[in-house]
């Protein structure tokens, strides 16, 4: 009877030892899997954030460029209007009939060169 009990205890101990090792192994694997998944997710998130920052930077850069262009065009237009206004005041009175005639002929010559006539 004692012998039987001893054998049973021994078997139980063996099973328990084996089970404990398996649990340890499973726990270790699960921990490794979680770590791997976490690393992948962190990397993906980091890449996503990096992409978002890059896109934002590009958007801001494009918006700034657009604004710069619009402002430059606005300034350009204002300068042209001013030049035209001054030209009208200065040239309007300064150009004599002969000069007017020559400039009309020149415009006609240019029109001819451009295939209008």
């Amino acid at each position: 009877m004692d012998e039987e009990l001893k054998k049973a205890k021994k078997r139980a101990k063996k099973i328990l030892t084996s089970t404990s090792s398996e649990v340890d192994e499973i726990t270790r694997k699960v921990a490794l899997d979680i770590e791997a998944i976490a690393i992948v997710q962190i990397k993906e998130m980091a890449a996503m954030l990096k992409e978002q920052v890059r896109t934002s930077q590009e958007d801001i850069k494009a918006e700034l460029e657009e604004y710069k262009k619009a402002r430059m065009a606005e300034i350009d237009e204002q300068v042209k209007l001013k030049v035209l206004e001054i030209s009208k005041q200065v040239l309007g009175d300064a150009i004599d009939l002969k000069a007017h005639e020559e400039l009309v002929i020149k415009a006609l010559e240019n029109a001819k060169r451009n295939g209008i006539l």
Partner: protein
């Protein structure tokens, strides 16, 4: 032949589209006078409703034997068919200046009427429109396209 020669004499005097429209009106009055029973109606219309230079030319060819009706109708048709070139300029031209500009245009394009518009906002130069094509050679446009 006489009709064509009369046209050649008249085209030298008719430079602008406005001139041509007035001439067509004058020719229309002459044409109407031909349907009146009074034999003097044509001469009266010529004296009263047609500018002297034009009347002299028509009278000259009539005195040479040209058929009045055929002559008037021929001239009317020729002037109605003339193409016009629209020219926007910044000043009011004298007759001499206009004649020189018209001469340049006719040397380049043949028999063309000038449709003159004055727009001081272009400052100087000219805007040319002909046959559906457009060229802005005005100073204002030059500044805009700088």
């Amino acid at each position: 032949m006489q009709n064509e020669t009369a046209y050649s004499d008249l085209i030298k005097l008719i430079v602008t589209k406005r001139d041509s429209n007035i001439l067509i009106e004058e020719l229309s009055v002459l044409k109407s006078s031909l349907f009146k029973t009074d034999p003097k109606a044509f001469d009266e219309a010529l004296n009263q409703s047609v500018r002297k230079k034009i009347a002299d030319i028509i009278l000259f060819y009539v005195s040479k034997g040209a058929d009045k009706k055929a002559l008037v109708e021929y001239l009317e048709e020729r002037f109605r068919k003339l193409p016009s070139l629209s020219l926007t300029i910044a000043f009011d031209p004298t007759v001499q200046v206009l004649d020189r500009i018209a001469k340049w245009v006719r040397d380049a394009k043949g028999e063309v009427l000038l449709e003159l518009k004055i727009d001081r906002s272009i400052v100087c130069g000219a805007i040319v429109t002909f046959g559906g094509k457009f060229y802005d050679g005005g100073y204002a446009n030059l500044i805009k396209t700088l």
